[in-house]
Structures are given as structure tokens and as C-alpha cells.
């Protein structure tokens, strides 16, 4: 696994989200200033992102398609999958995660799910010999790929998000800890933020204004801010409204 594929997404994504939502004192682009979407007009993001995807400018494509329309996940996953095909077969989850985790970070659960399903259906269709087990668990069907544990982790993570189940999330993190740690920390900050956003699991405190800003933006409570307990699920966030 090359580091360039592992590492840019989340540092870049955090920077992007900061730029997208924060009032940094820089002059806003036209669609942010005069449109109804604080992160910029979804349709413009979709067209710009699709253009970059056609040109194989992956980083640029990602940052726009994550903030796009309901058509964006398919376009993004098609690009990620094409990119993945040039890499080793076991790297599939890394490419799928480049869509799934950022969509979760912008509170677009539907787009994260669409991305996951599109990725595994293409993967199954193009690899007839890939071993697959369909498992029914707690009323949900899950497709398990024994050779791709981190892809299973992503599928189960989405299940936990939809169930709003902190217990399921904790079990998953424990079960897949060694697989996740093989990524050298690449997913760690994204997973910490997802834990807080969807399961109300407090992040280790950091004096990082970016994380604090993101936390408050997506509904994470301020530390010591009253006795609310239990999951603080994100029902909708600024970016998600235009996406469905």
C-alpha cells in the first residue's frame, strides 16, 4: 500500500471541511456567499467534481463530489474503483473508504451507503472468484468478504451508524483493531470524529481548534456542557440538506 493513497484523504478532508464551513476571514466564493448552502452549491460541486474525475484528478474530484448531489456517490465510486484496479487487489477497502468516510464526516449517511453498495457490487461483478458470504444479522443482510476484512469493517460501520448503536461500534473497533492499525493511523481521526458524531463517544480531548470547530459544527456537545447522555445522532447537517 502506498502512503500517498493512504494519507491524503483525511488530512485533506479535514482541511476541506474547514474551508467549506468555517468563516476563515477569506472572501467567500460566489455560490457560498449568495447560495443557500454554506459549503457551496451542490450542483456546481457535482459538475466540477465530475470534470476532475474524467481528468483523473482524484484529490480535486473527491473534494467536490463529497459536497455534491445525490448523483455524486456513483461518479466518485466509479473513479475510486478505476483507481483501485491499478493497485493490489487487497487495497480495495482503502479506495472504498475514500468515499465512505468523508461522506460520513459531512453527515451524508445516504451517500456513504450508496458508495459502499456501488463499490461492493462492482467488486463482486468484476471478480467472480472472490469469496463472499452473505450473512443475516439482527435483521440486516451483510455481505462479508473473508479476504478483505477492512471492507467488512466499513460495511458494519455503516450498519452501526444506521442503528445508532455505540455498542456495535465499540465491538467493531475492537474486532478490527489490528486491521485498522495496519493503516498506520490513516483512518484514526476520521473514526474518532464518526464515533463522536454518530455514537456520542467523546474524542480524546485535543487542543486543536479545527477538531473543536468540526465537533461543534456537527452537533458534538462542548465538554462539560450539561448532562445529556446517550448517542447524539446527527440527523442532518448543513452539507446534507442539498444532497438528497
Amino acid at each position: 500500500m502506498s502512503n500517498s493513497i493512504l494519507f491524503p484523504p483525511f488530512t485533506a478532508m479535514l482541511g476541506l471541511l474547514y474551508m467549506a464551513f468555517a468563516d476563515c476571514g477569506v472572501e467567500h466564493s460566489w455560490s457560498k456567499k449568495f447560495g443557500e448552502y454554506p459549503a457551496g452549491d451542490p450542483e456546481l460541486h457535482h459538475v466540477v467534481g465530475s470534470l476532475y474525475a474524467e481528468e483523473h484528478e482524484a484529490d480535486e474530484a473527491e473534494r467536490h463530489l463529497i459536497l455534491g448531489t445525490k448523483d455524486s456517490p456513483e461518479t466518485l465510486i466509479r473513479m475510486e474503483y478505476e483507481w483501485y484496479k491499478q493497485d493490489d487487489s487487497h487495497t480495495a477497502p482503502i479506495y472504498a473508504a475514500r468515499a465512505i468516510l468523508p461522506y460520513l464526516l459531512v453527515a451524508n449517511v445516504r451517500a456513504a451507503n450508496t458508495s459502499y453498495r456501488a463499490f461492493i457490487s462492482t467488486l463482486s461483478a468484476e471478480n467472480k472468484t472472490l469469496s463472499v458470504q452473505d450473512v443475516s444479522s439482527q435483521g440486516s443482510d451483510i455481505r462479508i468478504f473473508p479476504s478483505l476484512p477492512l471492507l467488512n469493517f466499513l460495511g458494519l460501520l455503516l450498519l452501526a451508524v444506521q442503528k445508532g448503536s455505540p455498542d456495535l461500534f465499540r465491538q467493531l473497533k475492537a474486532k478490527y483493531a489490528s486491521n485498522v492499525s495496519e493503516l498506520g493511523g490513516a483512518w484514526d481521526s476520521a473514526l474518532e470524529m464518526i464515533a463522536e458524531m454518530y455514537f456520542g463517544i467523546q474524542r480524546p480531548r485535543q487542543s486543536n481548534p479545527l477538531f473543536d470547530m468540526m465537533g461543534s459544527l456537527f452537533g458534538g456537545a462542548a465538554p462539560g456542557g450539561g448532562g445529556r447522555s446517550g448517542p447524539r445522532r446527527v440527523e442532518s447537517a448543513p452539507a446534507a440538506e442539498g444532497l438528497d
Binding site: 466564493s29 460566489w30 455560490s31 457560498k32 449568495f34 457551496g40 456546481l44 459538475v47 466540477v48 467536490h64
Partner: protein, 116 residues
């Protein structure tokens, strides 16, 4: 009034499609001046029409630098006139966007002004 703007646009487009690079450059400069005059007079609709049409003509003619410059100016007029993103205002920008060569340096700035 509208027909006057249409005539100006048609004349500028003709100079771009038929003219040499030097004439195309002059058409761009003239467009800047005319658009600035309309903007100053508060006639944003006329400024937008001229900038969008001439920008697209220049981009089609392979004059990415000049066309990009006017496309960026178009976004600026949207800002000055508090234009909201709607089908028509976005459509003009997306038409420009698709006409850019991917290597054209002004495209990045255009995208930035539009959305980033």
C-alpha cells in the same frame, strides 16, 4: 435596449470567430470596458449577457486566457449584483466551465471564485 446589446454581442462574436488573435484580444478588452460601463450603470443583466457570450466565444476559439478572464469577471458581476445561484446563473458558468481546456491556468481561479 436588448437589441442594442444583442448587436454588440454579435459584433464581438464575429470578430472572435473570424479575427486574428490580435483582434480577439481587442474584442476581449472592449468587452471588459462595455461590461464595466453596464455594471456601473446598474444594468447587470446586460453585463452578464455580454460577458457570458463573449467569454464562451473566446473559449470556443481556443483563447483560454482571454475567455477565462471574462468568465472570472462574470462571477464578479454576479457577486456585485447579489445574484443567487439558480438554473440560469449556474448554467452560464457551467457552459463556460465545459469549454475550458483542462490545461488552461485560468480555469482553476474560475472554479475557485465560483464554488470553493
Amino acid at each position: 435596449m436588448t437589441s442594442k446589446i444583442d448587436r454588440i454581442i454579435a459584433r464581438l462574436q464575429k470578430r472572435i470567430t473570424e479575427g486574428q488573435p490580435e483582434e480577439q484580444y481587442e474584442a476581449q478588452q472592449e468587452t471588459r470596458l462595455v461590461a464595466a460601463r453596464y455594471t456601473k450603470a446598474g444594468n447587470f443583466g446586460a453585463a452578464v449577457d455580454i460577458l457570458a457570450s463573449v467569454s464562451q466565444a473566446l473559449l470556443r476559439a481556443g483563447q483560454g486566457g482571454s475567455g477565462g478572464d471574462l468568465a472570472i469577471l462574470l462571477v464578479d458581476v454576479y457577486k456585485q449584483s447579489s445574484q443567487k445561484p439558480d438554473a440560469a446563473s449556474k448554467g452560464r458558468l457551467l457552459t463556460c466551465l465545459r469549454l475550458f481546456d483542462s490545461e488552461e491556468p485560468t480555469r482553476k481561479k474560475f472554479i475557485k471564485e465560483m464554488i470553493e
